[in-house]
Symmetry: C2
DNA sequence: CATTATACCTTGTATAACAAGGTATAATGT
DNA sequence: ACATTATACCTTGTTATACAAGGTATAATG
């Protein structure tokens, strides 16, 4: 029963829910990448080590919502690859979600920095 | 078709998934609060405006996992209230999840701060 | 011609936030 | 007295999404 690591990673999975959209939009900001290339980029960070089963449906959603474009292209000798890029709508969305993210970071850090017992009111 | 606000708030909902456990543990750090009191505290922050239908099942999970204790207590004339407090396990969990959170903030900020086109390798 | 590597896609499962309801009791209004 | 409101906790059904585990197709290699 290797359960302790499972319990740990369950938090990670839930943390990814909700940040992954932001993460993929940010990764595509100023870049045009195909699926596995994007996946490799995200594997450089502990927080964003996702699998293909997560990435492709996510990209489908982003495309469906008009936030990214998808385009098959053949680069030289390689097999065709589907390249994703931000639309202007996606770029705006990235800005909006990024602001939300900064707000969340601020709020949560405030909570972390103010343990009780105390009113946790408007001090300073 | 009041859809634009709905689309905005969908991101918020998903962002809460995965941060709420951390948030509630942090809120209970050094405090002993009953349900609605905890709810009011969380309503002071934009990111953590949740409802009772979210809070009570969440507290049940935390209790089931041994991270918090729940205790009915009657304070003077008021009706009995269920007071929640961190266990030592919960305190340790808060530390662990807090570290994970800092890692996530660091990773995501790195992604946000490094738009392409660029390898996004080990620069500096 | 079997195997491996690359690249994309699909299905089923589990989790968690939420809206919308519910119960019970104390305080207040008329 | 009795209806209403406020407080406090709880439950059910819906929805979204990350993931494991599978699948398809093609090109290069043994």
């Amino acid at each position: 029963m290797a359960n302790e690591k499972d319990l740990e990673s369950k938090w990670d999975v839930q943390l990814r829910k909700g940040t992954l959209d932001l993460v993929v939009l940010a990764a595509l900001n100023g870049r045009t990448l195909y699926g596995l290339e994007l996946l490799q980029l995200l594997h450089k960070f502990e927080t964003t080590r996702i699998t293909e089963g997560t990435l492709y449906p996510l990209l489908d959603r982003l495309k469906r919502d008009g936030l990214v474009t998808a385009q098959w292209r053949q680069e030289g000798e390689t097999r065709p690859r589907k390249y994703y890029a931000l639309t202007e709508l996606g770029s705006n969305k990235l800005s909006a979600v990024s602001r939300r993210w900064q707000q969340a970071v601020s709020d949560i850090n405030h909570l972390l920095a103010h343990p009780g017992p105390a009113p946790l009111n408007d001090e300073e």
